[in-house]
């Protein structure tokens, strides 16, 4: 049977879902509706290789227009402003109406904005999409002292890139450690040392009281009355799922769109995937919302299978990375449910990993090292976690013993 399948959101989850649907269903119409006038592209390089001029915009596309054409996947640049789930219709700002039989919502997430009492909205920069990255890259070339508000992944990656462009960088973080939402303090402290060694200033435990514009520069007043002078401000203070369109509908929302392990929402024939979805993870037996490259891809693929009628549970163990200076940081699983922590290695040059165990099984791990030094062990850890293996702690803690000995085939 030929169906109309609409994918609302032209990011990574959307494009991977579209291609997976096509793998399993050669007949249906598949249309991606994207708000950016760009084919789906990779976002991780925006804060790193794109700012550093190692990658150009055209290097970022997941697939060329030829691939989409060959697979008969339509992409349309359009902004939807109303959804009628009952009659299965989407309404665009330009009065176009799109009817669907199945809908995938992959609208992603958006940056939280600073709340400032004075009118400095246009003076604070954020980085999520290519346009914003281009703007930052252009303006920053004429700036010298840059302040980054928020010591999370995005802020620190930008801090690393700008430092490599010989800029003076200050990072202000409200919490008592960097990347505090998901990264263990032990690892965050190692990353912080690297930033300091490269000349970046890291200010923890401070809130911003006020930002004042002085000619072309700014003064940032912190809650301890200290004053920072800067000529450019970038904020990376977290993100929220993009769900405004669904707020007055029957779609169940709770920190994103609530989905089960099959990417199904509370409304029949409506699916959600990627950053926007607060999904049930059968392994961890709880709902979670993830913002990562691997998740967007795998969740999109899983949604695609389910939309095409191939019933598939989403069981991927979470994994994410961040690259800062010559460090590669990786996280697998979840690191907040544990009764024991085991450390592997103590020298960042060889990689340092912390494993978080519960009942002698790994629930998650986080590691950092010079590029290439933790990836293999973190990957093996994902497999051990997935297989719910009872692990030999001696092997985990001894960097001279290979972790792949722990994998039971």
């Amino acid at each position: 049977m030929k169906n109309n399948i609409i994918i609302l959101g032209g990011g990574q989850a959307g494009i991977y879902a579209a291609r997976e649907i096509r793998q399993n269903d050669s007949k249906s119409n598949i249309k991606i509706l994207g708000e950016e006038n760009l084919l789906p592209y990779e976002r991780p390089p925006l804060s790193k290789d794109f700012l550093l001029d190692k990658k150009k915009a055209e290097d970022l596309y997941f697939h060329s227009s030829d691939v989409l054409k060959n697979e008969n996947i339509e992409f349309e640049n359009i902004s939807i402003n109303k959804v009628d789930f009952e009659n299965k219709k989407l309404f665009a700002k330009n009065d176009n109406v799109y009817s669907y039989d199945s809908l995938l919502i992959s609208t992603g997430s958006e940056n939280k904005k600073l709340t400032l009492d004075n009118n400095l909205k246009n003076d604070i920069y954020y980085l999520r999409n290519l346009e914003e990255a281009k703007k930052i890259k252009e303006i920053v070339s004429n700036k010298n002292k840059i302040t980054i508000i928020g010591g999370g992944f995005i802020g620190l990656e930008i801090a690393s890139s700008l430092s490599q462009l010989q800029k003076k960088v200050i990072v202000i973080e409200i919490g008592n450690q960097l990347m505090g939402r998901i990264i263990p303090k032990q690892i965050a402290d190692l990353v912080q040392n690297t930033h300091i060694e490269h000349g970046n200033e890291i200010i923890l435990n401070k809130q911003i009281e006020k930002i004042t514009k002085k000619n072309d520069d700014y003064e940032i007043l912190l809650n301890d009355n200290s004053l920072i002078e800067t000529d450019f401000i970038i904020a990376g203070i977290g993100s929220t799922p993009t769900v405004k369109l669904f707020e007055n509908t029957n779609l169940k929302l709770d920190n994103g769109i609530v989905t089960n392990q099959f990417c199904e929402t509370s409304i029949k024939d409506v699916y959600a995937a990627g950053d926007v979805s607060n999904f049930y993870h059968p392994f961890y037996e709880r709902n979670m919302r993830l913002e990562s490259y691997q998740h967007a891809q795998n969740h999109g693929i899983c949604a695609g299978k389910n939309i095409a009628g191939v019933k598939t549970e989403y069981t991927s163990i979470p994994w994410m990375w961040s690259d800062q200076f010559n460090l590669n940081l990786q996280l697998t699983g979840i690191c907040d449910e544990y009764d024991e922590i085991i450390e592997r290695g103590n020298d960042i040059n060889n990689g340092v990993i912390y494993f978080f165990l519960k009942n002698n099984k790994i629930r998650g791990a986080c590691g950092v090292g010079i590029i290439g030094k933790v990836g293999r062990d973190i990957r093996i850890t994902s497999k051990l976690t997935e297989k719910d293996t009872i692990v030999d702690k001696q092997i985990l803690s001894d960097q001279n013993l290979k972790l792949n000995k722990l994998i039971q085939k």
Partner: protein, 105 residues
């Protein structure tokens, strides 16, 4: 086929099964693998970003990049999983008197 193109990498017992070694020759770098059915060789640098695959995970005929988990088939070089999308170059391998040789163009 000229004999000069075969470069000695090392002895066959220098690689554990389902593992790899790095091999540098002139200005190029390679990975040489021992799989259950023999020895294989590929370029040493991931096609996605300039990171060496020597620290990657070898499993089921696949090498996984340690940086971003791009996966390649070791025998064909095919890029199997994003972010890698460009295939990895592979090289012929032969074993002679317990020594591994790879043929570099």
């Amino acid at each position: 086929m000229s004999e000069e193109n075969w470069i000695e990498v090392g002895s066959t017992d220098s690689i554990e099964e389902e593992d790899l070694i790095r091999f540098d020759h002139q200005d190029k770098t390679f990975c040489v693998y021992k799989l259950t059915d023999g020895f294989y060789a590929t370029d040493g640098i991931c096609t996605h970003e300039a990171v060496h695959l020597e620290d990657g995970l070898v499993m089921d005929d696949e090498i996984e990049c340690p940086m971003h988990q791009g996966i390649f088939n070791i025998k064909s070089g095919e890029a199997l999983s994003p972010p890698a999308c460009e295939d990895l170059k592979t090289y012929p391998v032969k074993v002679d008197n317990d020594k591994i040789f790879i043929k570099i163009d």
